[in-house]
Amino acid sequence: MSRLMASWTITGRTVSTPDQPLEGHDETRVPWGQFTSNEEEERRLEQWQSLIDSRLIEWGRNPSVLEDDGVEAPTPHTIANACQLARMMRDDKLPPPTRVVPTVDGGVAFELETGDHLVCLEITPAGTLEYDRYFKSSLQDHMELPAIGHVFGR
């Protein structure tokens, strides 16, 4: 949050937006948080949409791309659940996952990796949801939820 509250001081130039050419010679304090927030929010929404459209919906159209030796493709129902979870997380202002991958038994996993931390939300073929949190690849928490509606208390 401290980053969001910070200012960006531009000495000797006036800035209208970070993307536009610099003009003028005044010292200007740009509310970095606001610009950052807007830009990050746009990027965040784009990333979520790309994940839903380019990955999940595409998998739903052609699940055979996920099949392999011993690997089951998620059913349309599981992919629909994954889309629902993605929309819920997007609407709750959460950052997009680092990756979304199929699981070997026909589920879909959302993995968010930041440094040594990894959080995994997995939609199982049975429609349940598993939460796993790792630190340095070591499992710290494991939780199973009966349905994805329980994730955000809905």
């Binding site: 011993g70 991958v101 199929p102 699981t103 690849s137």
Partner: protein, 147 residues
């Protein structure tokens, strides 16, 4: 019961290949690549790189035709440092086949989810993607290769 041919055990300095479907590689390697699937009843499969001339392209070609694969490299000592054994399980069509018996499909989900990320973290490098060349119902290493 493990059948470890005493004459050809996996030495600590051996490089092992793991074939990874391209969907498991997305902004980095997902540990799903090391989760045992329903065919891994006696342990997840690895292959000893020396049996493939240490060539990841050749190894990846043992995957299904029309699919692409990454090849993850591990060293046997790295696997063993996790408390996991890696044993040779030669198959008629893949004499370099090996397995990690402690990571098999019948393990509980919690155990699998403890071990698979640790194994993924032990990966030395990942190369690819390379095309699979094996027809769907063919044995694992029966592939079409250029001479």
């Amino acid at each position: 019961m493990d059948e470890t041919p005493a004459e050809n055990p996996v030495s600590n300095d051996e490089i092992l290949f793991r074939r990874v479907p391209e969907t498991f590689m997305c902004n980095g390697l997902s540990f799903q690549a090391f989760m045992p699937n329903k065919t891994d009843s006696t342990g997840i499969s690895l292959s000893r790189s020396s049996f493939f001339a240490d060539d990841p392209v050749r190894f990846a070609s043992t995957g299904r035709i029309g699919k692409k694969y990454y090849v993850a490299r591990l060293i046997a000592a790295g696997v063993r440092s996790l408390g996991l054994e890696v044993v040779p399980r030669p198959e008629p069509d893949n004499p370099g086949h090996a397995e990690i018996p402690d990571l098999n499909h019948s393990q509980t989900r919690t155990i699998k989810k403890q071990l698979a990320p640790a194994l993924a973290n032990a990966v030395l490098s990942v190369e690819g993607p390379f095309p699979g060349l094996r027809h769907r119902d063919a044995p694992t290493t029966e592939v079409e290769m250029d001479p």
